[in-house]
């Protein structure tokens, strides 16, 4: 988009000289307060709205020169509340575009079935009508319908804003998974900054009046907001949220305070630690205890302190690790492997050091004191781990 302006007939300037380069095969999120021109921007891409000034090019070709129906058919379009056709079954809703471009009934329905599976809809829903589906299911149908003819571009306007937070998280994870498999060029509109940060490869923050405030990858947005508006919009805990972008892989773990439930008296006495983490014989965590409360051969799992929610180094981010440590009654975070076996524990202090190292690496500065040079915790900003 090159210096694109949209002025509605009533004089409202919805988008003001917006210049934006949207990368292929990744998710670009437009985010900003209500009325800042996100929807208008999105709808100029499929020409549901025509720009007043400026040009939009797709792969070097001016959109204005392309026939509008062909253009729209090459772009999937998902809207808030899905906008399903209530007189058609779920299967026929999804098959709409394939039917429209002449795939034939059989092939279109086959394709629709395939997509139902892809977006996580049970095949038994195929013959139902939209009113028989929950909001989240309808939204999945909306996504499937947009993907049906395999368009290279997907435009999504607040697709998940009408569902509750739990369902929304499921839909977001699903979208990321689908995107991993299909590699579409997605433009995604939301007013929810957390959603933008979670989904976006690039995030465009817009301000009222249709102007671009900042266009950057989410990690950069969190570390270097361009101005007060962006900083405000990001909210108070951007420091914590930024940790989502730092891998917990390099975190220094220790196994010293970890004891098995069948430990001998010497083993229980050996560690010099205020708390011990007791595991079962297979290494799965049972709980924390002070050493003096443990008697060899007589450790009862019920009397142990809860260990909170363990994190998986490599999969989870530093944010998850910190969260673990904060929630743990002992202040120590428990790390487990994929099978739930304890691989070690980390104190809040260790995690704090890892955070400083990660920040240092991300900011390209030398890490502060108290960090070991051999810890590559600065795989920062690459791994996008779940918070």
């Amino acid at each position: 988009m090159d210096s694109v302006t949209k002025r509605y007939p009533d004089g409202t300037v919805a988008v003001d000289r917006l210049t934006l380069e949207i990368p292929d095969r990744s998710i670009t999120v437009l985010v900003g307060p209500s009325g800042c021109g996100k929807t208008t921007t999105l709808r100029m891409i499929n020409r549901m709205v025509e720009p007043t000034e400026g040009t939009i090019t797709l792969d070097g070709a001016d959109l204005q020169r392309q026939p509008v129906t062909a253009l729209r058919r090459s772009m999937g379009y998902v809207i808030q509340n899905a906008g399903l056709f209530q007189h058609r079954t779920i299967l026929d809703n999804i098959a709409t575009v394939p039917r429209m471009i002449g795939w034939g009934k059989q092939k279109s329905r086959e394709r629709a079935r395939e997509l139902m599976e892809r977006v996580g809809l049970d095949a038994s829903l195929a013959k139902r009508y939209p009113y028989q589906l929950s909001g989240g299911q309808q939204q999945r149908v909306g996504v499937a319908r947009a993907l049906a003819a395999d368009p290279p571009v997907l435009l999504m306007d607040e697709p998940f804003s009408a569902v509750d937070p739990v369902v929304r998280k499921g839909l977001q994870d699903e979208l990321l998974r689908i995107q991993d498999e299909l590699g579409k060029t997605i433009v995604f509109v939301t007013h929810d900054i957390d959603e933008a940060i979670k989904l976006g490869t690039m995030v465009a923050v817009m301000r009222t009046g249709g102007r671009l405030a900042q266009y950057a990858p989410p990690a950069e947005l969190l570390s270097d907001p361009a101005d007060d508006f962006v900083e405000d919009f990001l909210g108070a805990d951007r420091g914590i949220r930024r940790l989502s972008f730092f891998a917990s892989e390099g975190l220094q773990l220790t196994t010293a305070p970890v004891v098995r439930v069948d430990a001998t008296a010497e083993q229980l006495a050996a560690p010099d630690a205020p708390y011990l983490l007791v595991t079962d014989v297979e290494g799965r965590p049972l709980g924390w205890s002070e050493p003096r409360d443990l008697t060899a051969g007589d450790i009862a799992a019920e009397r142990l302190l809860p260990y909170g929610r363990p994190f998986v180094p490599g999969t989870d981010s530093l944010r998850a690790a910190l969260d673990c440590a904060v929630l743990s009654p002992t202040g120590w975070a428990v790390a487990v492997d994929g099978d739930g076996r304890v691989t070690g524990v980390a104190s809040q202090q260790t995690i704090g050091e890892a955070i400083r190292t990660a920040h240092g690496a991300a900011d390209g500065r030398t890490a502060g004191p108290g960090t070991d040079g051999d810890r590559p915790a600065g795989a920062a900003g690459i791994a996008k781990a779940a918070p």
Partner: protein
């Protein structure tokens, strides 16, 4: 003498069951007038209602035409036109069509207008042509209302088609007019009963069409 006796006498008189003045013949004529008038009114009211409803333009004109048409008295119109063009089918058809157009036109317009804009937006965004949007997205959802407009037009035409008898045509109105003239109340009541029955049959027919034509997804059951 009560009304039921009249009804009973009318329908049990075998003379009323055959010949050019028999019930089957009169019913057939009545149904023919109704269908013709309804067909013409639908041919005018439906396309205009669909188009104005889809584009959203001309809503005021629709309302104006409908109000004006409703203000015209059917019987007065019949007499007026009969005086101008003489006796025949035309003076009967014009008032019936004028009677039927407003409910068809206005309800169709309102029906299309009231379709949820989100699916329409989605359809347009996926590159559907305007005509497909109207017929494949808006009309199926608007259909129950469109049918209700046709239904009230049909019921009104069924009862008003009795005026055909005033200009020497047939239909059930014959019994009522002739009966009044001959002071044969058995005929009057019999004719009125037939009109009422035909109106009920019309309602039943529309109910059946609704069951068949409206998607379960729109009916929501």
């Amino acid at each position: 003498m009560n009304v039921l006796n009249f009804v009973n006498a009318f329908f049990s008189d075998s003379a009323h069951w055959h010949g050019y003045d028999g019930i089957p013949q009169r019913l057939l004529e009545h149904v023919q007038y109704t269908l013709l008038a309804l067909g013409i009114a639908a041919a005018i009211g439906l396309p205009v209602g669909l188009l104005t409803g889809h584009t959203g333009r001309g809503g005021n004109a629709v309302a104006f035409v409908a109000t004006a048409a409703r203000a015209l008295p059917s019987f007065g119109l019949l007499v007026l036109i009969a005086v101008v063009v003489g006796i025949g089918l035309l003076p009967v058809m014009i008032p019936l069509v004028v009677l039927a157009i407003p409910p068809i036109l206005v309800t169709t317009y309102e029906a299309v207008r009231s379709v949820d804009p989100a699916p329409v937006d989605a359809a347009r965004g996926m590159g559907m042509h305007e005509s497909s949007i109207l017929f494949r997205v808006e009309l199926p959802v608007a259909l129950p209302l469109v049918l209700s407009g046709l239904r009230s037009a049909a019921v009104q035409v069924v009862s008003t088609a009795t005026i055909a008898a005033y200009v020497s045509l047939g239909g059930i109105g014959r019994y009522i007019i002739d009966g009044l003239y001959q002071r044969n109340y058995e005929k009057v009541v019999g004719g009125a009963t037939l009109v009422a029955l035909l109106a009920l049959v019309t309602l039943a027919a529309f109910w059946a069409v609704g069951r068949l034509a409206v998607s379960p997804g729109v009916r929501r059951r």
